[in-house]
């Protein structure tokens, strides 16, 4: 059974300029011990999708009644979107699901020591004593490769270097042994050498604890190195989903192909860089039909009228495109 199942997630934001559709009809699953890469450009809705899993979107988020997010835990299934009170969310937030962010400085309170913050959340989620919580926290800091952990435990976030802070945040997120970890661009602000260290660490932790991870990034190279499966998003919709090998080596959606062509490749320095033409449309001016048709080189008249659905290209590899998957509008 999958750990997390997202069905037909549709989400709009109520704003002064009207309702803005941020996520439309997104479905995916994450299995225990699996890393799902969620790829897309800014404005594609990848972060909003992930935050829905913890109901962390702002108050003006309106979920469509057909949306369903199910978290399957040992103690039973939780229908996350039906939870209304913050108290009910406690078993999810920081308990069964943890999240790490791009900017670790923003995740730590600046005037509280790292240790105190780690102990606080352990006491909230686990029935253990203060001493026990401190011991677990120091162990976790050591586990993520922080040297002199007992000393770091009593330091403040600003006293740590960037890479160290990122490790401390991962340690804090994992100390309550969550079943699902949401990592939102966790390596984007890091230098490549530190990024390589953090990627290794996350892969080790998955192998050790068997949790599921949603890894959000815009960097296809990072995805190729970490994820088992990939979901590609564009303007709030899924464009393509499949195993990392399938999606990168034989992409079926023109958008995925465009992204791969736009990437500079070290193996072939003579290959021209081909940008995806045009700009991402504003969410206020969502194109009709297939949302990618305004930038697609393969676009046909039917792409402007009907929305393509996700269909199998190969087993376990799905894409939403009329042209490349030979589906008929309305089928």
């Amino acid at each position: 059974m999958s750990l997390l199942k997202v069905d037909n997630l549709t989400l709009q934001f109520d704003t002064d300029e009207g309702r803005i559709l941020a996520v439309e009809d997104v479905s995916f699953e994450v299995n225990p011990g699996e890393i799902l890469g969620l790829v897309g450009e800014s404005g594609s809705g990848k972060s909003v999708t992930a935050k829905s899993v913890m109901q962390l979107n702002p108050e003006n988020a309106v979920y469509d009644p057909g949306s369903k997010i199910t978290l399957n835990l040992d103690s039973g299934s939780v229908d996350i979107l039906s939870l209304k009170k913050a108290k009910d969310m406690e078993i999810v937030r920081g308990g069964a699901v943890s999240m790490i962010f791009q900017e670790p400085m923003a995740s730590f309170a600046p005037a509280i020591t790292i240790g105190a913050q780690m102990v606080e959340q352990l006491l909230l989620h686990k029935e253990i004593s203060q001493q026990e919580a401190a011991r677990v926290s120091v162990e976790m800091l050591e586990r993520v490769g922080i040297s002199d952990a007992e000393h770091r435990f009593n330091q403040y976030a600003f006293e740590l270097s960037g890479g160290m802070r990122q490790r401390a945040m991962i340690a804090m997120a994992l100390s309550t042994s969550p079943r699902l970890l949401i990592a939102d661009e966790p390596t984007t602000a890091l230098d490549v050498t530190i990024q390589a260290q953090v990627i290794d660490l996350m892969k080790d932790l998955v192998a050790e604890y068997g949790m599921g991870i949603i890894f959000i990034t815009h960097d296809l190279g990072v995805i190729a190195q970490t994820a088992d499966r990939v979901a590609v998003m564009y303007l709030g919709r899924l464009a393509e989903q499949g195993s990392v090998r399938d999606v990168i080596q034989r992409p079926a959606h023109p958008y995925t192909r465009g992204l791969l062509n736009a990437l500079p490749k070290l193996e072939n320095l003579d290959a021209p860089l081909t940008p995806v033409p045009g700009d991402i449309p504003s969410p206020l001016e969502r194109p009709s039909g297939c949302v990618f048709h305004t930038r697609c080189s393969m676009s046909e008249p039917r792409c402007q009228q009907a929305v393509p659905s996700m269909v199998d290209v190969y087993e376990g590899h799905r894409a939403a495109c009329f042209v490349t998957t030979a589906q008929e509008p309305g089928a």
């Binding site: 450009e41 800014s42 270097s161 960037g162 890479g163 160290m164 230098d191 490549v192 050498t193 530190i194 990024q195 390589a196 260290q197 990627i199 290794d200 815009h218 960097d219 296809l220 190279g221 990072v222 190729a224 190195q225 990392v244 090998r245 990168i248 080596q249 465009g258 992204l259 791969l260 736009a262 990437l263 500079p264 490749k265 070290l266 320095l269 860089l273 081909t274 940008p275 995806v276 700009d279 991402i280 504003s282």
Partner: protein, 351 residues
């Protein structure tokens, strides 16, 4: 390709000394930028050595890459060339086909003229543009401030010309920056930097804030503007795959020092310095079957306020021996235009 623009340089360049070739637009010798960070009256003064004894030649017409991790001093070095960071010691010279300047001792008028010749493209196109000015005013501002044009009609003409080169149309010029996407904003930033017809442009992480689908577009634009306007770029970036594609020469910085400098292809095919080798192998490969092959570097870049003695890289270097913690290696030629600062380059170099 790169050197052709400067071949008509003639005898009036006699002022240049023999070590700087005539095609060099920027020539730095032993350049240092140190920032005071406290200490004083009774305690020893402390300095942050952001750039420490750098020798660098940037050939005219080149797309010169400068790479390194955060804290390596690459931005400070780029700004020193623009006279935007204080130069503590060393020499920096600027030459183009019209003027030669000693950047350390510029007179007021010379500095004013140099500001027109050397420009900067910023990283974040959202922060670099005033939200209260129309795109036309944003692009026209340098012309007005530097009094390059004399009438509004002339200004408009120049603005329109550079805007169209950066693929912005008349309709765009009337709008405010908030109406534009990241890629369009970066094109506005580029137009603003190029409107006063500079010869030398520092592009500091100019595509780092952009999505990949747009990044390629901006890189192609920078390249075509270079051919069109005869520009020389110093392209500062931490993204090595971008640098590999667009530059023709790369210098690698670590803790304020240059550790390697080579033609781009040479650097990526046969990196000589262990730090360059580690950087290259840390780039995540797009091949899912090629995982974990990277040669992992332990630890992080040390603080520039307390740099390690000897070779700055020895604390993280897998090849370090005793001499590395005692003597600082100097850049030495190891091949055609290829220089490496490492005691052990002979044993480990050549990829």
């Amino acid at each position: 390709m790169s050197g052709q623009a400067a071949t008509q340089v003639t005898g009036d360049d006699a002022a240049r000394d023999d070590s700087g070739t005539p095609e060099t637009i920027i020539r730095a010798r032993n350049l240092s930028v140190h920032f005071p960070i406290g200490g004083g009256l009774f305690t020893k003064k402390l300095f942050l050595r952001a750039v420490d004894g750098v020798d660098l030649n940037i050939p005219q017409g080149s797309f010169f890459g400068l790479v390194g991790e955060s804290g390596s001093g690459k931005t400070t070095l780029g700004r020193a060339f623009l006279r935007a960071s204080p130069i503590t010691t060393g020499e920096v010279e600027y030459h183009d086909d019209e003027v030669s300047y000693d950047l350390v001792n510029l007179g007021k008028e010379q500095l004013k003229d140099y500001r027109r010749r050397a420009q900067l493209i910023f990283q974040d196109p959202y922060a670099a543009l005033s939200p209260r000015m129309t795109v036309r005013d944003i692009i026209a501002e340098p012309l007005e401030v530097m009094e390059i044009t004399s009438s509004r009609e002339e200004t408009d003409e120049v603005v329109r010309t550079i805007a169209s080169k950066c693929r912005l149309n008349l309709e765009h010029l009337r709008r405010f920056p908030h109406a534009f996407s990241g890629g369009q904003r970066q094109r506005i930033s580029i137009a603003r930097a190029l409107v006063c017809n500079p010869r030398f442009v520092v592009a500091d992480e100019s595509v780092a804030a952009l999505d990949v689908s747009i990044q390629a577009d901006i890189l192609n634009l920078l390249k075509s503007l270079q051919n069109d306007l005869g520009l020389t770029y110093l392209f500062i970036s931490h993204d090595l795959s971008v640098v590999a594609h667009i530059t023709d020469h790369v210098a690698v910085m670590y803790l304020g020092r240059l550790v390697e400098s080579a033609p781009t292809r040479k650097l990526f095919s046969a990196p000589g310095h262990p730090y360059t080798q580690a950087l290259l192998s840390a780039i995540p490969s797009l091949d899912p079957d090629h995982r974990g092959a990277a040669q992992k570097l332990e630890g992080e870049i040390p603080s520039p306020t307390r740099p390690p003695p000897g070779c700055k890289f020895h604390t993280r270097c897998p090849y370090a021996t005793e001499i590395c913690s005692e003597q600082e290696p100097v850049l030495q030629p190891v091949g055609d235009e290829h220089e490496v600062a490492c005691h052990h380059w002979k044993e480990i170099g050549g990829g």
